[in-house]
């Protein structure tokens, strides 16, 4: 029968023989491990020093006790000493093990944080790079890249809606349609373009170079790029044949529009050229042997702010040109013009994808 708490009684596997002293020290070990080194009376037996005198050395036959600590203590003091020493040793070893374990935990925790950060960064870079053909060193802040990703997604939706509107216009113009319905379609198409200008304006604030390079457009569209979009004067050239017949006043108005559009375009282009020159000068400034290039960079950064306003002015010019066209033309003429414009961009996009497919075909 066991008077000890059996949950902590660990049979000593190291010893073939039954050894009460070692069993006790193992129990001590266990309790230290489980309780962090604190002495808890519940889990171990407290060896009592006093035993009734009835127990004699040879009196164990009748009721054998497994732990004869009292007898040992009083009769074998050196065994007690040995036991205590073993206990101390076990406790010391346990403390060392615990320290090592905690250190391992700390290191793992730091490593985990580091890995999570790397994963975040890689995920963002992967997103941003997915639409690009050329490799660009990616060192964007979170706001910038997520904003541009959002813009690209929005633009995808914009193109889908654009295609749907063009399809609708084509169907409607081929058949019979009321002027009211046609005007509605024309107004929607105009609003759709204006929405794109707003989207671009927001994206330009995040990354003006992205907008300036037309990164969201197909390659053929980029070929015709002028300050982040189409050239208003080109637009008018594309649309003009679709307005016939026109009354005299319209002819005059269109002529004036073409001239003012060209002049405005030229003025903005001149401003852009000056910006390029001054930016190049800022970057080129400085002599050999100068330690820091920071002053040139910060000066150039100020000039880049002006680039955003140029992108906005170019879009504003596109907006105003479309608006004026709408004013000059009848509803039906405007519908035909919008259909022609939408079709033009569709064909440019188709040209881009045909070209890309052709490039991949084996010769």
């Amino acid at each position: 029968m066991n008077t000890t708490t059996s949950s902590h009684f660990v049979p000593s596997t190291r010893f073939e023989i039954y050894d009460p002293l070692n069993q006790i020290s193992t129990m001590w070990e266990e309790s230290f491990k489980n309780n962090g080194g604190f002495y808890t009376p519940n889990s171990i037996i407290i060896p009592t020093n006093e035993k009734p005198d009835s127990l004699s050395e040879d009196g164990t036959e009748g009721t054998p006790h497994k732990f004869d600590q009292e007898a040992s203590t009083s009769r074998h003091p050196d065994k007690t000493q040995r036991r205590l020493a073993q206990n101390r040793e076990a406790a010391r070893k346990s403390r060392l093990r615990k320290k090592a374990y905690v250190q391992q935990l700390e290191t793992s925790r730091l490593k985990l944080i580091h890995l999570e950060q790397e994963l975040d960064r890689a995920r963002q870079q992967g997103f941003y790079a997915s639409n690009r053909v050329d490799t660009i060193p990616l060192s964007f802040s979170d706001n910038m890249s997520s904003g541009i990703v959002a813009f690209e997604m929005e633009y995808g939706h914009w193109v889908k809606e654009q295609n749907r509107q063009i399809c609708e216009l084509r169907t409607v113009l081929n058949g019979q349609v009321s002027d009211v319905e046609l005007r509605l379609l024309v107004d929607n198409a105009m609003k759709h373009y204006f929405q794109l200008f707003r989207m671009k304006s927001a994206a330009a604030k995040l990354d003006v170079f992205y907008i300036m390079s037309g990164m969201w457009k197909t390659s053929a569209e980029r070929f015709f790029l002028w300050i982040g979009g189409f050239r208003p004067s080109e637009l008018l050239k594309v649309l003009l044949p679709h307005f016939d017949p026109m009354v005299d006043q319209q002819v005059l108005d269109v002529c004036n529009l073409r001239q003012s559009c060209q002049q405005a375009e030229d003025a903005v282009s001149q401003g852009m050229e000056k910006l390029q020159h001054t930016l190049a000068e800022s970057v080129a400034a400085g002599e050999l042997g100068e330690g820091s290039y920071i002053p040139q960079i910060s000066c150039a950064m100020e000039r880049l702010e002006a680039l955003v306003s140029f992108v906005n002015q170019a879009d504003h010019l596109r907006h105003e040109t479309l608006q004026q066209m709408h004013r000059i033309l009848t509803t039906r003429q405007a519908a035909k013009g919008l259909l022609a414009l939408g079709g033009y961009f569709q064909r440019l996009r188709a040209l881009s994808s045909s070209w890309e497919t052709r490039q991949r075909e084996p010769t």
Binding site: Q263, A264, G271, E305, Q313, L317, Q323
Partner: protein, 136 residues
């Protein structure tokens, strides 16, 4: 060139009353500068948008009077006055710093955005003709 003195003085009256803190002498200075020529441009010598607006008028055959505020003794106050005038009107400038600002026939047309919009919608040329800056 036609000067509508009544509207000009009433213009200055209402502006001074609306901007109590504003020194009226700077405003008067702006007005007199704006009245000097048919087309007056307040500009900054290093600003590229200002360069664009100058190019626009010259390309149309108009010779504007240009005041480079960064080189002007009272440039800072004039700039501040112009910003307030722009803020009062509905058009907001997209250029940093508010310039360029264009006056035609003594009246404020506004920033580059306004000028371009009025050119595209066909209202700029008649305005220039009325101010005597353009002849047929």
């Amino acid at each position: 060139m036609q000067y509508q003195t009544e509207t000009r003085s009433s213009f200055s009256y209402s502006k001074v009353n609306n901007m109590g803190l504003f020194p009226s002498d700077t405003l008067a200075r702006v007005e007199s500068m704006a009245a000097e020529n048919a087309v007056v441009i307040f500009s900054v010598s290093t600003c590229c948008m200002c360069h664009a607006v100058k190019g626009l008028f010259r390309g149309m055959g108009v010779s504007p009077a240009v005041h480079e505020l960064d080189l002007h003794p009272y440039g800072v106050e004039i700039n501040r006055a112009l910003l307030r005038l722009l803020g009062c009107s509905s058009g907001a400038s997209t250029s940093p710093g508010g310039l360029p600002v264009v006056f035609i026939g003594g009246k404020m047309v506004g920033s580059m955005e306004r000028v371009m919009a009025s050119h595209i919608n066909g209202s700029l040329v008649p305005l220039l003709k009325d101010a005597g800056a353009l002849w047929l």
